[in-house]
């Protein structure tokens, strides 16, 4: 099993990781804990699974891409 985990913007700088692969996770929250070594979650962090917005409780599967990032500020 292989799950790709990405961090963007201020979260990428805080965590110190842009991209990592973990071997197992049942949920996005568990992916966070494994990829960050249980770093505290900022209150406003957003979650995407396979390029769609999701939740920390959302299930993840083998091959999924899970991304964590702060509120978006484009436009």
């Amino acid at each position: 099993m292989s799950i790709q985990v990405k961090f963007f913007a201020s979260l990428r700088e805080t965590i110190g990781v842009a991209d990592t692969t973990i071997s197992h996770a049942d949920s996005a929250g568990q992916a966070w804990d494994i990829a960050t070594n249980k770093a505290e979650r900022p209150v406003n962090v957003l979650v995407a699974i396979n390029l769609e917005y999701a939740h920390f409780t959302s299930a993840v599967q083998d091959g999924d891409e899970v991304a964590f990032f702060p509120p978006v500020t484009g436009g």
């Binding site: 390029l51 990032f69 702060p70 509120p71 978006v72 500020t73 484009g74 436009g75």
Partner: protein, 145 residues
């Protein structure tokens, strides 16, 4: 219908002119509404000398396509052009362009207004500003007022 992510500075007016010439819109449209967001040299009362725009490329592409699709379902549009800048940005540089063409005015005006709001709330872009006291991530979008 075209969506572009630009790594380099772009001229929004020339982009509209080029798009209009290349498309087969000629004589069909009666209304064109555009919005251009550009970098100001101040934000929240602090001078901003430069900015970096980061994005999540695959998700950005998906969301801009989704927003365009939603706009076309909701309004009777003849064409949409969306351009969003990423990378190193200088004051006065255009950041985002949205242009909508329609037969009648409300479709293009309302779609253009909706698209910029939806883009700002959903598309995964992030701004980091360089101010006198260093670099700062912009923490949230303003309400636009």
């Amino acid at each position: 219908m075209s969506i572009y992510i630009e790594q380099q500075a772009f001229d929004p007016w020339q982009a509209i002119i080029d798009h209009q010439q290349q498309s087969d819109l000629n004589k069909q449209f009666g209304a064109t509404a555009t919005f251009i967001g550009s970098m100001r040299d101040f934000n929240e009362d602090a001078d901003v000398s430069q900015m970096v725009l980061e994005h999540y490329p695959a998700m950005t592409e998906r969301y801009l396509n989704q927003l365009e699709q939603q706009a076309r379902e909701r309004w009777d549009l003849l064409d949409i052009l969306i351009i969003h800048r990423v990378g190193d940005i200088k004051p006065a540089d255009p950041i985002v362009l949205i242009a909508c063409w329609s037969a009648h005015r409300r479709a293009s005006l309302d779609a253009c207004s909706w698209l910029i709001e939806a883009l700002k709330h959903q598309a995964p872009f992030w701004k980091k500003e360089t101010r006198q006291d260093g670099e700062h991530w912009v923490e949230s979008n303003t309400d636009g007022l």
